[in-house]
């Protein structure tokens, strides 16, 4: 479980995050949504300690992470896996070396054990025969999969994903979404995903936090989101014509359930 309490962050006097309090549950895919510039990435970077918060506190379980120094944070960071927007794979290392790096640095496993673990993680993300490729030789979807494999190689307790679907086609996005959901359930980890992809929200969002202008504007589940009266949230969620039509469709289904297409709104 991760808890943010009244956190605030400013850059050169400009408030980017203001009084955000939220609790992210273990074993669930927690989504942070919001428009570009709403503070999602800054919020995520504050949670993982890449940026120091100005006010408030961040708790990992019973440990106040924001009070810890650089060295003390290291022990918690080894329980954190993170998938960056662009993958952030080391360009000068192969896929295998990228995934193996945390094992090399923080475990005393033999070469054979490390190789087995790397192969297991790459198979888990459905990547075969890619061990010796460099990031420049991979597609966008493959880069995200390697990033996921690297994030889970040390069996993390916390998984952070910064817009994991950006730049991917809808089908690959679904594959990545499902992979993240499966891993979250399989290892019972606390997963926090930054996204503005509404497909992801409806597909894997178990708990959703909506940020608007650096503030927490709304919090709920994916079924709540369709019935919310929050205007800013509705503007964001139903920005596309297709989503607006879908909402009209959902209202129609409520009035005439016999017309519902099966499994559209789970």
């Amino acid at each position: 479980m991760i808890r943010a309490e009244h956190i605030a962050k400013s850059f050169d006097g400009r408030k980017v995050l203001e009084d955000i309090s939220v609790r992210f549950e273990q074993g669930k895919t927690n989504l942070v949504i919001g428009r570009s510039g709403s503070g999602k990435t800054v919020f995520l970077k504050c949670l993982v300690g890449l940026l120091d918060i100005d006010e408030g506190a961040i708790w990992y379980g019973n440990t106040c992470f924001s009070d810890l120094g650089f060295r003390a944070r290291k022990t918690i960071r080894r329980d954190i896996g993170m998938i960056f927007q662009g993958g952030a794979l080391l360009d000068s290392s192969t896929v295998e070396e990228n995934v193996r790096l945390p094992l090399d640095l923080f475990t005393r496993q033999s070469e054979k054990e490390k190789a087995e673990r790397v192969d297991f993680c790459l198979q888990r993300v459905a990547l075969k025969n890619a061990n010796q490729l460099y990031p420049s030789e991979l597609s966008g979807g493959m880069i995200k999969r390697v990033a996921i494999a690297r994030a889970i190689v040390l069996n993390p307790k916390y998984l952070f994903c910064d817009e994991p679907n950006s730049g991917l086609d809808p089908m690959t996005s679904n594959v990545i979404d499902n992979l993240i959901r499966e891993i979250t359930e399989e290892y019972n980890i606390t997963t926090i995903i930054n996204t503005h992809d509404m497909n992801s929200v409806m597909e894997i969002g178990e708990k959703i936090v909506f940020l608007h202008e650096g503030k927490k504007w709304w919090e709920g589940t994916k079924s709540d989101i369709l019935h919310s009266d929050n205007r800013e949230l509705n503007d964001f969620v139903f920005a596309s014509t297709m989503a607006q039509r879908a909402r009209g469709y959902e209202r129609m289904v409520q009035e005439r359930p016999e017309c519902a297409a099966k499994d559209v709104f789970k």
């Binding site: 993982v48 290291k74 954190i80 952030a88």
Partner: protein, 251 residues
Amino acid sequence: MIREIIKPFEELGRYCILMGKVFSRPEKASIYYRRILFEMEALGMSSILITAIISIFMGAVVTLQMSINLESSFISRSLIGYATRETMILEFSSTVVALILAGKVGSNIASEIGTMRITEQIDALEIMGVNSASYLILPKIVATVLFFPLLTILSILIGNFGGYLVAVVTRIMIPDDYVQGLLTDFKPYSIVYSLIKIAVFAFIITSVSAFYGYNAKGNSLEVGRASTKAVVASCVIILMFNLILTQLLLI
């Protein structure tokens, strides 16, 4: 105005803090050992050709110029070989080679680390709990401090050979006179002085370039700027330290 005056001191402070992180206890020695070997190949071995090319031409040019300017029946021709050797050992093979490597290796380091910064690769290392400054910069510093002295020795040998070659090809002097000059009044301490200088210069080039790359922000334009700043700052600092080290070690 005051901000402009304070800025260099701020940068010096940030540089010292970064070096503190770089020289803190490494995560795992075996990983660093592998990375040092990798960096020796990437930064050192790849500089052999450029060092050899500039050294052979510089040795040849110095010999030609000495020969032209010392055209007198009162001056022994062997002095040309002596002067070429001393020029190569005392100044060229350490300082001039360092300035050229500041351009090649310095810009390479700054752009590599700068790109890693803006593509969040450094953030990814930090998230893993890795001391990114130490992991990325320390192997480069160790590799260059160990390898650049070898380049200097190579440069001295090739530079002096370049002088010999020009004597043979142009017949501007008798090659035996040149060889006799090379062997006259040789002081091994000059080599030690040259190696100390290049080791210090290697540290300056790598650490200063890494500092600018590590602190790059924004986009690819900033990486380019960081790279340029790294080369300029390295060159200026090398020239300053050249004066300081000469004063300390030779006088």
